[in-house]
Each structure stands twice: as C-alpha cells, then as structure tokens.
C-alpha cells in the first residue's frame, strides 16, 4: 500500500511529462501542416492558376528561346508533384526566385523592405493599444451610457472606413493644408547621406546614432500612417477590451473587493484589467498581424517603402515571384504570430497550464 503511494507521484509526473510531450508534438504537427498548406496554396496560385506561368514571369515580349529556357529552369516540363517538391525546397532554403522588376533575388528585396513594415505596424499597434484599452475599459465601466455609445461608434467607424481613403484625406488635411506632419516616405531626402541605417528600424537607428534631427523627421513621417493603422486596431482592441472587462466585472472577486472597501479605481485598473489582460495579449498579437495586412494599402497611399508597397508595385508589373515571396513572408509571420499568441496565452493563464 505504502509502496504504491510512494510510486504514485512519480507516475503522475511521468504522465504529465508525456502529456506535455504529446502536446508539443501536436503543436509541431499543426505548425508543419499549416506551413505546408501555405506553400501549397502559393504554389497553386503561382504555377497552376496562370495559363502560362512563364509568360507571367518574363512577359509577353520575350523571345522564344528565353521562354523555353525559363520553362526548363522552372521545371515546368515536370509533373506537378515534382514541381511542388522543387518549389518547396527552394522556398524552405529562402529562395523565392528573382524579381523581374528589381533584378535582385526576392529574398534580398524582402529583407531590405520588411523592417519598414514592421516598424510601421509596431508603432501602429502601440498607438492602438494605448488608446484602445482605456476606451474599452471606460465603455465597460459606464456600460449603456453615452460614453459607451460613443466608443462603440468610434469602433464601428474604424471597422467600416476604407483605410486608404482615410489615409488620402489625412494627407490632404495634415500634410498639404495644415503642414503639421511630413508627407509620403519614411525620411526626408536631406538625411539620405548623413543617416546610416543599422537595424532597418529608423526610429531605433536614429536613437543609436544620436541623430535627433533625423529622429524628429522620422517621427513626423511615421506619425500619420501609424495613427491610421492604430485607429484600425483601436477599433478591434477597444471592442474586445470592453467585452473582457464586462466579463471580469461580473465576477465574484469584484464584489469581494468592493466589500473590502477598495477604491473603484483600484478595482477597475488593478483587479479587473489585470485579469482581462491575459486574453488581451492575444487580441493585441492578432491585431498586430492584422496591421501587417492593413499596411499593404496604407503603404501604397503613403509611399512607405515596406513590404506592402513592394507587393503592390510587383503586382502592377506582373512580377509573380515577388508577389508570391511577399505573400509567403506575410503568411509566415501571420502563422508565427497566431502560434505565439497561443503560447503566450497558455503561459500567462495558469488555468490552462495544468491541461
């Protein structure tokens, strides 16, 4: 009897370790199949959908021998499953082919432009969270009031407005008419030779270089597109914050805190929001991924030299390799952020840990 009792904890620990191993393995399978699906879809778009993929890459004015050479180079004479295998090998080793437009390898192009998009999306998410969370908390606390309605309308308009149109109007008002901010682009031409990017994140680079004139210029360039993206994510964040807060404020521990005589501020910001923060992390991560997507249109309007502008420019020039490369990168980041938010949720919420 006592031997069994002694054995038990060890067996339980074993079982727990096995369960964890199983969940990690399941997780990896999910990642792998999702990524495989991503590759399959992009392969389908690039190779199967176009009537002639070679034409999509070299254009209709290429001489016949070039077309034939590219056809062989792409392996288009092979059956689809072999083509997919080659395609997968290429993409997994970071080879997306060559861009017709820039004549660089697509991967090199993407590495150059991607930090610009990340910087924009990051600043946008920060703005969205800093304004969206307090708005959501306010709406939940004053549920049904005029404030609640106003927050709801702000959110609904954010869901409904075409972001490229809002960007155009914002440029017109704040740049052309009022002159409060700088216009399209990331940085003024004046700084082109004095400013040396290190990380590719210009705000960070300016701080590292202690180049405060450049820093001010970069801020005045990024503030408008980032605010727009921020508004876009604010709509989502404030709505979800309200819903999480309503959920928390209905719990018994809030009644207990009130009974203890805690101040309402403490209860709302210290107790309820802290518990609502766990699912909020997921929401913010997802809205960050959404901004990567929103950046496609925003970058086009603001001539922001990021991945979105790269994709749309390539689209306009029928540069299929570049379009697919950009799609894969954005898709991969999307998948990564989704998984990351899942992991973060499990780490932050102790209730999900034991399972």
């Amino acid at each position: 009897m006592s031997a069994v009792a002694r054995l038990k904890p060890a067996r339980r620990a074993n079982r727990r370790a096995y369960g964890r191993l199983k969940s990690v393995a399941g997780f990896l399978v999910v990642v792998a199949t999702t990524y495989l699906g991503l590759l399959a879809v992009t392969f389908f778009i690039g190779r199967v959908v176009p009537i002639d993929p070679v034409l999509a890459i070299v254009g209709d004015r290429a001489p016949a021998h070039v077309v034939e050479r590219v056809r062989l180079e792409m392996g288009l004479d092979l059956p689809y499953y072999q083509q997919f295998w080659l395609y997968m090998k290429g993409v997994l080793s970071g080879d997306f082919g060559t861009s017709v437009l820039t004549t660089n390898p697509v991967m090199a192009d993407i590495r150059r432009v991607f930090p610009a998009t990340m910087e924009l999306a990051t600043v946008g998410t920060i703005i969205g969270a800093l304004i969206g969370i307090p708005l959501g908390v306010l709406a939940a606390v004053k549920r049904g009031s005029f404030t609640d309605q106003v927050v709801r309308i702000i959110g609904l308009v954010g869901y409904s407005v075409p972001i490229f149109w809002l960007g155009l109007l914002a440029l017109l008002v704040f740049y052309a008419r009022l002159g409060w901010v700088s216009g399209p682009g990331r940085i003024d031409v004046v700084f082109e030779y004095t400013f040396t990017p290190v990380t590719g994140f210009f705000l960070l680079d300016a701080i590292l270089n202690r180049d405060w004139a450049a820093f001010r210029d970069i801020v005045s360039h990024i503030i408008l597109p980032a605010s727009l993206l921020g508004y876009f994510s604010l709509a989502y964040i404030s709505r979800m914050t309200r819903s999480f807060m309503l959920n928390e404020l209905g719990q018994e521990y809030i009644v207990a805190a009130r009974a203890k005589g805690l101040s309402e501020t403490r209860i709302i910001w210290g107790h309820a929001l802290r518990n609502a923060a766990v699912p909020l992390v997921t929401v913010i991560a997802l809205s960050y991924a959404g901004l990567l997507e929103g950046s496609v249109l925003t970058e086009t309007v603001f001539a922001w030299p990021g991945l979105g502008l790269y994709i749309t420019n390539s689209l306009q020039n029928a540069d299929m390799n570049a379009v697919l490369g950009g799609t894969i990168v954005i898709g991969s980041v999307f998948i990564a952020i989704n998984l990351l938010s899942d992991v973060l949720y499990r780490m932050l919420d102790p209730r999900t840990r034991s399972r």
Binding site: T34, G37, V157, L169, L297, T300, T327, F334
Partner: protein, 305 residues
C-alpha cells in the same frame, strides 16, 4: 380595430401555436421586436434598403450618364447645382457614378455571399457530423486558409487570375469561407447528439439527408449573422482591390477605383476622391450596424457583449 390588433399580437405570442406557420411567425415577430428595439440596427437596415433601392432604380435616379461626360465644359467641376457632388476628370457626374456604383457593390457582396456561405456551410456541417479523420482533414484545410491574411491572399489570387471584377469576386470568396465553416461545425457539434437527430437516424435517414435536411437549417441563422457582419469587410476588400487597379476596370463606376482615379486631384479637387469614400463608409457601416442588430435579435446569448 385595436381589439383585432391585440388578438393578432396574442395569436403571435401564444404558448401553444396551432400550426407550424403560427409558431414560425411568432418567432419572427419576437425577433423583429427585439431587432427594432435597437435604434442603430434599424438605421443599418434603412441604409442597406436604401442601397438596394438605389441599385434597382439607378437609371431613374441618376441625373446624368455614369459613363459619358462633357469633356469640353464639365471637367472637375466643384459640387453645385447641376452636379451635386461635382464632376471627375472626364466630366462625368460623380453622383450618377456613385448611384450606378451601388449596383457593383451589391453585386460583389451578394455573389461573394452566395459562393462562400454554401462552401463554408457544407465543409463545416460535414466535418462536424462525420467527425474522425474527415473532420481533422477538413478543419486543417480551413485553418490553413484562416491563417492567411485575407487581403494579401486575394491580391495574390487576382495577380494570378488577372484583374477584373469577376476575378476579384472569386478571390474574395475563396478567402471568405473558412469562418463560416468553423461556425457551421460548432453548431453541428451542439446538435449532432441530440434526440431528434437520433430519431431521424433510427428512421433510417442517410447521413447526407441528415446533414442537408436536419443540420444545415439549424446553422443558417448564425451563418446569416456572420455573413452580414462580414459584408463590410467584403466591401472594403473589394474597394481595396479596386483602388489598387485589380478589381473593376475603367470605365466601371466601382467606388474603390473611383477613389484611385481621384487620387491625382486630391490636392485641388478633393471631392473627386472624397465622395466615393463616404459612400463606402456609409454602406459598410450600414452592414455592420445591421449585423450587430441581427446578432442581438437572433442570438440573445451574445447580446450586450
């Protein structure tokens, strides 16, 4: 008169409906009362009905031709009598173009819904009812499509298919069905083990018959809510594709493409780009309000959230 109205109301709200029709009408009446209690939802409904009205009667309502303008005398006129929203760079009346554009918007929204919703419904109900490896495979595929950013995937599809409003509709539909599949599956899982399904099984109904006749109808209402809420997103994606020159091609008066062509004159003739944007905003706001209201009316569980 008031007595008759009272009895009609009582007839609708009775606990013991005498016929199926009476029960259905009663349910609809309750949902309608709940819906109209929400003022914003009614505004949304009015906006959408207005859009449908504009689309149907466009030739009667539009004061000018949407395609032929007066290049000599009416280029880029500012808003005023004669041209209430001004004219564009080809002398075309912007208001007329917006009115005709409502047809394109409605076309996109309806076709995407008609293509995407049944796909999602079928995938979701089959996965939910069959379970096992069918469920696993179908849901994996759904998750893969969900993992994609919608606009970017639609962009890539249009890039491969070639620009045009038909291809834009296909691309948006391909990217829109996964959430419907998830919803349909969730609904299916809640009903698949219920008594009435077991009763139908005992009566010897085939799995297809059960899915098509006994499970799908129950998924419809939550699906309608979701589709309505998604319509704003569909309109925005279509407008985005049009703005990038990948959706409707000129001279079609598609609102996103109109913004793109007005972009060149934004500094001096801002109304050329501003007016279609307002139209998009109003219509997608209408769909969002309507969807919110429908959700609260049809699904009381989620109300207030």
């Amino acid at each position: 008169m008031s007595d008759a109205a009272m009895t009609r109301r009582e007839w609708l709200l009775t606990d013991r409906p005498q016929s199926r029709l009476q029960a259905r009408l009663g349910r609809a009446y309750v949902a309608w009362r709940r819906f109209t209690a929400n003022r914003l939802a009614v505004i949304g409904l009015v906006i959408i009905l207005g859009l449908v009205f504009l689309a149907i009667f466009a030739p009667l309502l539009a004061p000018h031709s949407p395609y032929i303008g007066d290049l000599a005398k009416a280029r880029l006129l500012s808003p005023g009598p004669g041209h209430w929203l001004g004219t564009d760079d080809q002398g075309r009346d912007i208001l007329s173009r917006l009115i005709y554009g409502s047809r394109l918007t409605l076309q996109v929204v309806l076709l995407v819904a008609v293509i995407a919703a049944p796909i999602g419904l079928l995938v979701g109900t089959v996965a939910g009812y069959a379970g096992g490896w069918v469920d696993a495979v179908l849901m994996r595929i759904t998750d893969i499509f969900l993992a994609f950013p919608k606009l970017v995937l639609a962009l890539a599809f249009v890039a491969a298919l070639g620009p045009g409003i038909g291809n834009a509709i296909i691309a948006i539909a391909i990217t829109s069905w996964p959430p419907y599949a998830r919803i349909a599956r969730a609904e299916t899982l809640t009903v698949r083990n219920s008594d009435y399904i077991q009763a139908v099984q005992l009566m010897g109904a085939s799995p297809w018959r059960i899915v098509l006749r006994h499970i799908m109808p129950l998924c419809i209402s939550s699906l309608i809510v979701r589709v309505t809420l998604d319509m704003a997103g569909i309109i925005l994606t279509a407008a985005g594709l049009g703005f990038l020159g990948l959706g409707a091609q000129p001279p079609l008066p598609e609102w996103g493409a109109m913004i793109a062509s007005g972009r060149r004159f934004i500094l001096d003739q801002w109304w050329v780009a501003a007016a279609p944007g307002v139209a998009i905003l109003i219509v997608s706001l209408g769909f969002n309000l309507l969807g919110d209201g429908l959700r609260d009316a049809l699904d009381p569980r989620g109300s207030g959230q």
